[in-house]
Symmetry: C2
Subunit: 191 residues, 2 copies
DNA sequence: GGATTCTCTTGACATTTATCAAGAAATTAT
DNA sequence: ATAATTTCTTGATAAATGTCAAGAGAATCC
């Protein structure tokens, strides 16, 4: 387990110092959730930051009474409501497991300790956030410059496995189209 | 000048320690650009991070030979190609002034010194990035859940001054619609 | 200050995407 | 196993948005 987590930490934060790796890893605890459980309920403060070892979670919010999927979080990546976790304020998102899930989780009080005990942490986390920032810029750019069909294609090429793992209307929503449009694009592309 | 910059630094990073404020401010230098100048040219590495004292810059990229505006940067905010600046790699964006501009600028070598001399910096910058991260999440959510007209309305309510300061087709592009659609929405709303 | 370019609008029309309704297929619950 | 629910597809139609073309007005250049 620790090796796995250490690997995530290396990948995410580029920690090369092995002492830091071990120290950072020691703050995270294995957490299991059942399918359908909430990682974060609407209107609550998010007190956890987790790497996903196994399983899938969906980040969404309501708009006009409908669920709009903002992101689908998969193994090897992290999950949290970042603003809520860092600033200890009410979250913007609902986060729910879509399958049974295994996480490496740190809660806020341990996170505070981690920052105190690993001086490099803030720098590492900053670099990590800059990477995320760039990914979000690209995602916005796609909405400014691509059609629904092109967004489908780009996403499919990078995430084809996911299409067998979650209801497709989650992906449709995350790409900013209705399930019907999504279905018609698929039909066209399979021919 | 310094007071102004110190104010930005307080606003952005929530620095309360006045010694840090002064120290941070001392690394930034006033830079003036003329209208039409490039802050960052396509394919180059971005070696600056700047607060905007006066004027407007546009962040864009090309798609199918057309300029797509990703962001319009205004006074009181910052401008850079973050991933390029931090990781010293080729930028994703072109950044061009839309008016004459006055900036408080730090270049990469001074940025390295700043990090070394102000221990709190990484932590401050991290918090700043988390805020930006949340803003981008919201922007994506708007593309998933709002129509062009609704995006217009939300943006107009928060940024009405901007509509007198830049060509409207920049704003149209940034909101993910054509200038024609933008124009028709305006017509409808003015009545 | 006249020419040129850029900006914005408008109309006609095409295309994309959403909506509504229905049903088949798959999954889940009892 | 059966029923209930969810997921996915399909068709018909409506609405939103894009494209192309033209022109008026404003800003900019020489």
């Amino acid at each position: 387990m620790n090796n796995e987590l250490v690997q995530y930490i290396k990948t995410y934060f580029g920690v090369s110092n092995s002492e830091d790796q071990t120290k950072i890893a020691s703050f995270f605890k294995l957490e299991k959730l059942n399918r359908g459980d909430y990682f974060l309920k609407g209107g609550h403060v998010c007190h956890k930051f987790s790497f996903i070892r196994e399983g899938i979670l969906r980040v969404f919010a309501y708009h006009n009474g409908k669920e709009v999927t903002q992101w689908i979080a998969t193994p090897g990546y992290f999950v949290t409501d970042l603003g809520s976790f860092i600033f200890n304020k009410e979250g913007s998102w609902v986060i729910q497991t879509s399958t049974d899930v295994e996480l490496f989780t740190i809660d806020r009080s341990d996170y505070v300790k981690l920052i105190a005990q690993v001086p490099a942490w803030n720098s590492l986390e900053k670099l990590f956030l800059v990477s995320c920032f760039g990914a979000m810029e690209q995602r916005i750019f796609q909405h400014l410059s691509l059609t629904a069909e092109e967004r489908y294609q780009v996403f499919f090429e990078a995430n084809s496995e996911l299409f067998n793992e979650v209801p497709l209307h989650y992906i449709a929503s995350m790409l900013g189209m209705t399930p019907e449009t999504f279905s018609r694009i698929r039909k066209k592309r399979i021919k």
